[in-house]
């Protein structure tokens, strides 16, 4: 088993962007809407909020980071992993630390969560260092066929994963069928989330209150070499952004583990208490050993 390395990367806080002279996007019913909250510094959105709590488009619990050079932006997105620490390097919030809580696809974005005070001090263009580590990680106790991705090793240890008799069981809030997987299918899971085309009344959710940071599983989804349908493969991931009115879009699911069902089994449970909900929470992020910066 190989040891993994770390990268210090640089991202720039994104400015919200819209198509020039087009204020509207079109929702699944053909109605125009102004997209609010789709990247940049978005205040008032936190881990644990319902993905449908606000009338926004892809709103994430943190700031989104980009890079002006497209190749560097793909590099930033590829190597940042959920749970990685991030440090503000310029502007009014210099010195504050936060955590990577997700990524988004296409041109690439990294989502970093900070406390409210830091969020209020950040401006688009601020420089943030991401202490990236996790791609290529293998954990010795997990079945060999399970592939890990996009997850900081220390955070993985804080998530509800158990291994017994060669089978890994992961607690998740819900299990969804692959047919809800929309934008992101056919794209590389190390650089993209996949949007789940669900709305509050979706039969697939069956009343489950999907929240930002929740662990979910998608059945019949293989994400090792692009994301696509493969019968009886399971992908476990984290809900990284909120819903969207656009067809084929919705809450973002960032894969963190993938394997055949016989060795990777999701167990749907909301947890016996809020603290035990199978989710990425600020408490679990805080439990990850901070990067030695001093």
């Amino acid at each position: 088993m190989s040891s993994i390395i770390a990268n210090n990367l640089l991202g720039f806080v994104e400015h919200a962007g819209l198509t020039p002279m087009v204020s509207y996007r079109i929702d699944r019913d053909g109605h125009p809407y102004v997209p609010v909250g789709d990247g940049g510094v978005v205040l008032g959105v936190h881990l644990g909020d319902s993905v449908f709590a606000t009338d926004t488009d892809h709103a994430a619990p943190g700031v989104t980071l980009v890079h002006p050079d497209p190749g560097s932006r793909f590099g930033l997105t590829s190597f940042a992993c959920v749970g990685n620490r991030a440090t503000v390097r310029s502007g009014a919030a210099t010195g504050a630390t936060g955590s990577v809580v997700g990524k988004r696809g296409e041109a690439g974005r990294v989502i970093v969560s900070f406390d409210d005070e830091t969020m209020a001090a950040l401006l688009p263009g601020d420089r943030i260092a991401v202490h990236a580590m996790g791609q290529g990680y293998e954990r010795a106790d997990l079945p060999e066929e399970i592939v890990l991705l996009n997850i900081d090793p220390a955070l993985l240890d804080a998530l509800p994963v158990t291994v017994d008799a060669g089978v890994a069981t992961v607690d998740v809030v819900g299990v969804l069928p692959s047919k809800v997987a929309g934008n992101g299918i056919g794209r590389p899971a190390h650089q993209w989330d996949v949007d789940l085309a669900v709305t509050p009344d979706s039969p697939e959710l069956d009343g489950i209150d999907m929240r930002l940071g929740d662990l979910f599983a998608v059945e019949h989804l293989d994400v090792r070499h692009n994301m696509g349908f493969r019968r009886d493969w399971i992908t476990v991931g984290i809900i990284v952004h909120g819903g969207s009115p656009m067809p084929g879009h919705g809450p973002g699911f960032l894969p963190i583990a993938c394997g055949p069902r016989r060795v990777l089994q999701p167990r749907a449970t909301p947890g016996e208490s809020a603290a035990e909900r199978p989710a990425l929470t600020s408490e679990r992020l805080a439990a990850v050993a901070p990067w030695p910066t001093a």
């Binding site: 079109i26 929702d27 699944r28 019913d29 053909g30 069928p177 692959s178 047919k179 809800v180 997987a181 929309g182 934008n183 992101g184 299918i185 056919g186 794209r187 949007d195 085309a197 979706s202 039969p203 019949h220 293989d222 090792r224 070499h225 692009n226 994301m227 696509g228 349908f229 493969r230 019968r231 009886d232 493969w233 656009m246 067809p247 084929g248 879009h249």
Partner: protein
């Protein structure tokens, strides 16, 4: 019963583009669903040997685009070309030794795709100019207001297996029923642009990848179950989409033969019938625009 439309209110716009070269990058390889590397032709440029009515899969190809793959060098002009070109529009070669040759739009795939007979294609190379007689966006079926029509030249409509059923729904013959699980890359994008790659059609790869779609032909009229392409493309229970297969074989995972969208609406507005002959080739032959002289192959019966 023939379909009443607003065809008399549509206009034609003449658009131009050029045959766009196939693209590659310095890394060369892509990987298939099992992680095996490949470098294969199919996307962009001039592609011969696979036409409307012929097998979509079984080629050593990735993102197989039959015929000519067309773009405009200007971003806004290209958007107009991609969004306004419709299946059935006439395409004319405007430069080079094939000048004057005519083909037909069979779909979009971030390129406008135009099929021609191989005799004409042999004379075309990348950079040759073409024009498109774009007509069809805005078409409506007056007796089926719940159904959105797009990317469809009204002259093609009478030759497609579409009619009004006795119960007032739109009756559509399809060569294949595509389950929602097959919808791959292209979801979440605009339904006037590119197409929906279908997964589950990887001949020769393992059974756990199959959704029974390996026998698709280029030009097949298909139904996409639980897909709403009215204002984009996405999963929506109780809605269906009718499309025409405009691209073929893919090795890239999450990709595959793809339908360009023609109709979308609530399933209750349609009566869908299985018809192995439901293929664009039949319509093109009726219009005198066939691109191959071979008889369309019959879809292989699939077991359910």
């Amino acid at each position: 019963m023939s379909l009443r439309t607003n065809e008399d209110r549509l206009v034609t716009q003449i658009l131009t583009g050029e045959v766009w070269p196939p693209q590659a990058d310095r890394h060369g390889y892509r990987v298939d669903p099992d992680g095996h590397p490949f470098i294969l032709p199919g996307m962009g440029g001039v592609t011969m040997g696979a036409h409307v009515g012929e097998a979509a899969t079984g080629h050593a190809s990735d993102h197989l685009e039959p015929g000519l793959s067309i773009r405009h060098a200007g971003a806004e002009a290209n958007a107009a070309l991609q969004f306004l070109s419709c299946v059935g529009n006439i395409v004319t070669v405007r430069s080079g030794p094939a000048t004057g040759a005519e083909g037909v739009v069979i779909g979009q795939h971030a390129y406008v795709l135009a099929d021609f007979a191989d005799g004409a294609l042999r004379q075309v190379t990348t950079g040759d100019a073409v024009s498109v007689e774009a007509r069809g966006q805005g078409l409506r079926l007056l007796d089926h207001p719940e159904i959105r029509v797009k990317n469809l030249d009204p002259r093609l409509l009478p030759h497609l297996p579409f009619s009004t059923a006795a119960d007032g729904t739109l009756e559509v013959g399809v060569a294949m029923r595509v389950p929602a699980e097959a919808a791959g890359a292209g979801g979440g994008m605009l339904s006037e642009f590119a197409n929906t790659d279908l997964m589950g059609a990887y001949p020769g790869l393992s059974e756990d990848l199959s959704l029974g779609l390996e026998s698709l032909r280029i030009g097949d009229i298909v139904v996409l179950e639980d897909q709403d392409h009215s204002y984009g493309r996405g999963y929506r229970p109780g809605w269906i989409t009718i499309g025409v297969i405009s691209t073929g074989e893919c090795r890239l995972f999450g990709h595959g033969p793809g339908p360009s969208t023609l109709l979308s609406g609530p399933a209750s507005a349609f009566t869908v019938l299985d018809d192995p002959a439901a293929n664009l080739a039949t319509a093109l032959t009726a219009m005198g625009r066939a691109t191959t002289t071979s008889t369309p192959t019959t879809a292989t019966e699939t077991t359910v």
